[in-house]
């Protein structure tokens, strides 16, 4: 078996979440890499939707931005940005939304706005919401990809940019959020899944070589661990080869 990095494991694990034939709302970076990896391996009919307006993009290289020309050139349709949100995301036509996070709490609430201080005088000003609040609200389910650390996995997020399960069970329904919420969080250490009853993110799988203790240390709340905790299959040779070839296309284009 090949050697691989923690980021490669994370990307492969994320790609495996994507079922063939579903529609996936993709952001740039790891989500885009994972989605294109899925399309190049087990999910050739995966529909990639980029918020720039590219529906059904089929890039033959990794795009460098969500508005990369290769997305428009290969899309089934290029549509105006308001239409992306109004006709495609809002009515729940998109099965899976990928999100990143600067902070994440145990209910999958996400912060990408400000850290520390207060809103008008923050310690760190982050990019903000982008499409995330409505992706989190309206996609069939949300997959979060984020490196796991105490700084990121916090007891409380400093700002709720995108709602996960709010304060727990029933909150999404009370808020009128129609999508299923953050079902899965893929990290460089393993996979967390929302418990169907408590909605709490629960460690269900570890990447090969990672211990529960390490995962607990990288989590800013008492981490729930599944009784049937299992180990993620390492990347196959094919997955790694395709992933590396994809990443090489990105370096070549940059």
């Amino acid at each position: 078996m090949s050697q691989y990095t923690a980021d490669e494991m994370m990307t492969v694990a994320a790609a495996r979440q994507l079922r063939d034939g579903t529609a996936c709302f993709v952001g740039i970076g790891l989500p885009s890499t994972a989605a294109n990896l899925a399309r190049a391996t087990h999910a050739p009919e995966l529909v990639l939707i980029y918020e720039s307006g590219c529906l059904g993009a089929k890039p033959d290289r990794l795009p460098l931005s969500i508005g990369d020309g290769v997305l428009a050139d290969t899309a089934d349709a290029v549509i105006p940005v308001p239409e992306v949100f109004n006709y495609w995301l809002q009515p729940g036509r998109i099965d899976v939304g990928f999100l990143g996070a600067a902070q994440l709490d145990r209910y999958g609430n996400i912060n990408t706005t400000v850290i520390g201080g207060d809103y008008t005088d923050p310690k760190v000003r982050l990019p903000g919401a982008g499409g995330a609040p409505e992706i989190a609200a309206s996609c069939g389910e949300v997959v979060v990809i984020v490196r796991q650390s105490r700084r990121t996995f916090t007891e409380r997020v400093d700002f709720v940019t995108s709602v996960g399960y709010g304060a727990g069970p029933g909150d999404r329904a009370r808020l009128g959020l129609r999508g299923g919420g953050p079902r899965t969080v893929i990290t460089d250490l393993g996979i967390l899944e929302a418990d169907p009853d408590s909605c709490e993110l629960t460690l269900t799988r570890l990447h090969p070589g990672v211990t529960v203790e390490r995962a607990r240390e990288a989590t800013g709340w008492p981490l729930a661990v599944a009784q049937d905790l299992s180990t993620v299959e390492p990347p196959t040779a094919e997955e790694l080869a395709v992933l590396r070839a994809l990443e090489a296309t990105m370096r070549a284009a940059a």
């Binding site: 508005g67 809103y119 903000g128």
Partner: protein, 272 residues
């Protein structure tokens, strides 16, 4: 019919101190040259509006043109943070920057309402987030048929919208294609508009995926080849990804930033 103008004259006439100004373009067709002209003409106290304030707004903010920013995502796409934006928010340098912060869905719908002559738009958005705690421009509204509660945002009607497009004809009809983002809505929502173009042609040959803005709905058109650099104009140029990476270094430090602006913007000539 839109007037054909030079970039300098277009900015001088259409962009005024204190204006609410939208430069739009979603990764593609970002009107950088027009942004630089606004810096050269030293506009002040602008309310800058843009879904994705990226490098072009980092430059305008660092150059001291902006008093306020209305936006939904402020970063250097694929690279990281905007250092001038952060410095303005975190340290009020060179001047304080007020923020009005939305989601993409909210901003897109605000332009749609603006283009539609409506005072507000309705969406499923923002619910449960902390965004409504920090702006009064996000409110709830009840459906008069079902009683369901949804979110309302007010129309955006910039004083002036600036966009870049591939082509215009001599009557000022504008043609763009590829990723066209929210540009049509941003132009139609604005009181005045300035479109920079790669090329002025005798006739606009139809292109798949095109958006055409009739000349009578545009105020002025300026011929500015390369006016989207370092972003790109599909069919004319490719994105200068290296510049976006380099900007991280240039903009991290106030002095290097100022030197860059001095050399590449203030002392450079307008492209057209």
């Amino acid at each position: 019919m839109a007037k054909l103008v030079s970039l300098a004259d277009g900015v001088a006439e259409l962009v005024r101190d204190g204006d609410t100004v939208a430069l739009e373009g979603f990764t593609h067709l970002i009107p950088f040259a027009a942004g630089h002209e606004i810096i050269r003409q030293e506009r002040r106290d602008l309310t800058l509006v843009r879904m994705t304030p990226d490098v072009v707004y980092d430059q305008l903010i660092g150059a001291g043109c902006a008093r306020r920013l209305v936006f939904s995502w402020g970063g250097n796409p694929g690279v990281g943070s905007l250092h001038r934006f952060r410095d303005a928010v975190q340290n009020s340098w060179p001047v304080p920057l007020e923020l009005e912060e939305h989601s993409h869905a909210g901003m897109a719908n605000r332009y749609v309402a603006g283009a539609s002559g409506l005072p507000f738009a309705v969406l499923r958005g923002y619910t449960g987030t902390d965004l409504p705690r920090h702006t009064t421009n996000i409110r709830s509204i009840d459906c008069p048929f079902t009683g369901e509660t949804l979110t309302a945002v007010p129309a955006l009607n910039p004083d002036v919208t600036v966009v870049h497009a591939q082509r215009a004809d001599r009557a000022g009809n504008v043609q763009m294609w590829g990723i066209t983002g929210v540009q049509k809505e941003a132009v139609l929502a604005a009181r005045r508009s300035l479109v920079t173009v790669e090329e002025i042609v005798d006739e606009l040959t139809p292109v798949p995926g095109q958006v055409v803005l009739p000349g009578w709905a545009v105020t002025a058109v300026a011929h500015v080849p390369g006016g989207a650099h370092p972003s790109y104009a599909q069919g004319y140029s490719v994105r200068d990804n290296a510049f976006y990476v380099a900007w991280d270094e240039i903009s991290r430090d106030r002095d290097t930033f100022q030197q860059w602006i001095e050399r590449h913007v203030r002392k450079a000539e307008a492209k057209a």
